[in-house]
């Protein structure tokens, strides 16, 4: 009874308590309901676009320029961009852990190198360059114009950390190699974690000078850059990477190409103080023309088809004998890229393709019918009476030219040539004629026979080094599609492509492309 009275008087108290608890629960539910933003009506995606948002991890220092590009891209294609800003290293850790996202745009490409090492990047698109400079207050009150001025006792200097920032690492490495580091280090007042913090310190007046990238100063009206020759070698590239984890890779590449296009994203990069990269002009479906020796077709065809699918690009392939291709180029038909059967044919157009890269090598062999019924074991055996021999045309293809040199080197030219019944512009034609039985033997590349192992045998030509051909890939110096051609080269240098070359009987020469494709 006592208890009942006691608690009867407290009934109001428990009701009051419960009412507050319930009210807080209702408020909580309402707040959670309000947490998710209302669905905004999205514009209709342009034809061929997915409309699925692209997730971009972007260094906070690139925020201004990327927002400008985002504005244009969303306007043009109605594809929303979800951009996550943060420190490059933090973003890198996040994308490594989550394995999600479409694109990564760090403050400089050193982070992309790390991302490549971790196999996170599928492709890279260069955007611009940044130059290390000394940031000072507008008007340069301490009159810093040379290295000695910077090291004066009255100048308080801020630098970015040599462990945590790219510019810090680069400045340290560059100046150390020239014996300039210790003096600067002794005079440095403070090290900050990012280049923006250094600029902020100069802006607030906490220091008098800071070593920063010139592009950073675009956002600082009250600061000015002093260029010093001692810092000239310190340059960083900015690039955007498409992530391997992207579930929307085609769209991601589309945006990356847009950002890296000379008449789209790079205009903003220039406006925001970067030295823009030499980007391709924007095209919805970019196109490159590739001239290639016919012998290479089986090794590169699938790689190119995959490249076209990935990039949303078109590669116009012209396969023919290298002699014919070179003649066409000399007549003025210049492709964007040329994949030659042999260095000799690349040398003839060196002025168009100044920096070719050797990709693979191939060797001449003697093709015979399965089981080698004619008993051919050397070049000399090709001179046997009644033998029908096919070789490449020396003017029309590298293979023919090499064959003649090999005959000369082996001292069998005259004897073998009397048995030659056909000279073709490509090795494939010789293989076809061997398979049809119209030839008893042919001198062609080992790779030509790769698809006919059930019908043909290959006899190696020993002791004649010139029977080996090297295949260089060159990008035309005046091509308006340099970036796309570069990416095509990367695709050809990639691991998957290497394997295809090996399957086709080529020996690989090039360094593997850095984790791409």
């Amino acid at each position: 009874m006592i208890a009942q009275n006691k608690f009867g008087s407290r009934r109001g108290s428990i009701n009051w308590t419960l009412a507050i608890i319930l009210a807080s629960a209702v408020v909580l539910v309402l707040l959670v309901f309000n947490l998710l933003p209302p669905k905004q009506p999205a514009g209709k995606p342009a034809e061929g676009q997915s409309g699925q948002p692209l997730v971009v991890y972007c260094a906070a220092s690139n925020k201004s320029v990327l927002e400008a590009i985002r504005h244009d891209y969303e306007r043009d294609y109605k594809v929303p961009l979800e951009i996550q800003y943060g420190p490059s290293q933090t973003l890198l850790a996040s994308l490594a852990v989550t394995g999600t996202g479409d694109l990564y745009l760090p403050a400089d490409d050193s982070f992309l190198v790390t991302a490549q090492e971790r196999k996170l990047i599928a492709a890279e698109y260069p955007l611009g360059k940044m130059q290390a400079v000394v940031a000072v207050a507008k008007g340069n009150p301490l009159k810093i114009s040379k290295w000695e001025d910077l090291l004066k006792p009255e100048v308080r200097i801020a630098q970015a950390s040599i462990e945590a920032s790219a510019i810090g690492k680069m400045v340290h490495k560059s100046l150390s190699s020239r014996g300039l580091w210790d003096a600067l280090h002794d005079r440095t007042t403070v090290y900050k974690t990012t280049v923006n913090e250094v600029a902020n310190d100069v802006k607030t007046g906490a220091v008098d000078a800071g070593i920063v990238f010139d592009a950073v100063l675009h956002d600082y009206d009250s600061l000015t850059a002093v260029t010093l020759p001692e810092l000239a070698p310190v340059q960083a590239n900015v690039a955007i990477g498409v992530l391997n984890a992207s579930s929307n890779a085609k769209q991601a590449r589309h945006f990356a190409r847009y950002a890296a296009a000379s008449d789209k994203g790079l205009l903003h990069y220039q406006k925001f103080g970067f030295q823009p990269a030499a980007g391709d002009a924007w095209a919805e479906v970019p196109e490159v023309t590739l001239y290639s020796g016919s012998m290479l077709r089986p090794a590169i065809e699938q790689t190119i088809a995959e490249f076209e699918e990935r990039e949303g690009a078109r590669v116009t392939r012209v396969y023919n004998g290298c002699g014919i291709l070179v003649a066409q180029m000399k007549a003025g038909q210049v492709p964007d890229a040329y994949f030659a059967c042999d260095v000799e044919f690349m040398n003839q157009v060196k002025s168009i393709f100044p920096e070719p890269q050797d990709i693979s090598q191939n060797e001449l062999v003697i093709l015979v019918k399965k089981g080698n019924p004619a008993g051919i074991s050397s070049l000399k055996d090709l001179s046997k009476d009644g033998l029908r021999v096919g070789i490449g045309h020396e003017k029309q293809c590298a293979m023919g030219w090499l064959t003649q040199r090999t005959f000369d080197e082996g001292g069998v030219r005259e004897q073998v040539m009397k048995n030659v019944v056909v000279q073709t512009p490509t090795g494939d034609m010789l293989v076809n004629q061997m398979r049809s039985g119209s030839l008893d033997a042919a001198v062609a590349y080992l790779s030509n026979a790769a698809g006919s192992v059930d019908q043909l045998d290959a006899i190696r030509i020993k002791g004649i080094p010139c029977s080996i051909a090297r295949q260089p890939f060159g990008i035309a110096k005046d091509t308006p599609h340099k970036q796309l051609a570069e990416r095509l080269l990367q695709a050809i240098r990639a691991k998957a492509s290497q394997d295809r070359f090996a399957q086709e009987g080529f020996l690989w020469l090039a360094a593997e492309a850095p984790a791409h494709e």
Partner: protein
């Protein structure tokens, strides 16, 4: 000044000279404690004045006019309120258990609860990120959450709340535990003796006495959530118009050298905190009465 205790009144009354001397001797004491305590208040005021001097009404207006900052304000208020309420909901029973009951392993729970307080906030964010993406049975927590709840956690609004809650709740638990420690258990024991169940004793006797503590825990959790930055940046990201809260806005503005805008947003945070915490304290005072 407080009245003299009754015990002092028993002794013979002091003479006037003694009283005058004692009255005079209090001033140095007040000067010292006022000086020491006031120096901190002065420091905070000086910081605010410096911030106000660095920015201008123009920057303030420009910041408020930006849709992304308006979105950040809205998300900040909502997420801080959710995480503060959730913190109180969790901290009240947990604080009560830790305060009232002795059991094996209590020290371990105590230590675990202190982890978010001592860990660098960035690590909390990274740990959340790892937790939600740790593979198990061909899936992970993020995928399962999406499957069952129908929405994304990582890099979405719920991640903001989770990141805030993970840190703020620890502070709320500490507050609630101290609150229950200070409430005499006698009244609760009496209620139990009179036939109350443990739940009745809690709701009828203990919780009404703990309202001040609940309000304190709520305000601490809310304020802590407002200032949270590291875990949000890592676990929720700083996606404009999506997971950007005011603390990440300050970071983003600083990253592009917009110090004036960063300061303007910081002051906006101070104003928001003062308004919200003022309202909570006002309501709390009424509830306690």
């Amino acid at each position: 000044m407080s009245e003299l205790p009754a015990a002092a009144a028993v002794s013979s009354p002091p003479d006037a000279r003694q009283q005058a001397h004692r009255a005079g001797s209090d001033w140095p004491f007040f000067a010292v404690i006022g000086g020491l305590g006031g120096s901190y208040v002065l420091l905070i005021v000086a910081l605010l004045v410096a911030d106000l001097a660095y920015t201008s009404p123009k920057h303030f207006a420009a910041a408020l006019a930006k849709p992304e900052i308006q979105h950040a304000v809205r998300l900040t208020l909502i997420s801080c309120s959710i995480s503060a309420l959730l913190s109180v909901w969790v901290a009240t029973p947990l604080g009560y258990i830790l305060s009232r009951f002795t059991f094996r392993g209590r020290w371990l729970i105590d230590t675990i609860i202190d982890i978010p307080v001592v860990l660098p906030p960035l690590v909390i964010g990274l740990s959340l990120l790892i937790l939600f993406h740790l593979p198990f049975g061909g899936s992970n927590l993020e995928r399962e959450a999406q499957r069952w709840l129908g929405f994304r956690i990582t890099y979405a609004e719920p991640a903001v709340v989770l990141a805030q809650f993970a840190v703020a709740c620890a502070f709320a638990v500490q507050t609630m535990r101290v609150t229950f420690d200070q409430i005499d258990t006698r009244a609760e024991q009496v209620a139990l003796t009179l036939g109350c169940r443990r739940s009745q004793a809690f709701f009828l006797v203990t919780l009404p006495q703990a309202w001040r503590g609940v309000i304190a825990a709520l305000t601490i959790a809310w304020a802590r959530s407002l200032g949270e930055f590291g875990p949000i940046l890592v676990f929720a990201g700083a996606t404009r118009m999506r997971t950007e809260v005011l603390s990440t806005t300050v970071f983003l503005e600083l990253s592009v050298g917009q110090l004036e805008a960063a300061v303007a947003v910081s002051l906006l945070m101070v104003m928001a905190a003062m308004i919200v915490l003022g309202i909570v304290r006002l309501l709390g005072t009424k509830v306690v009465r």
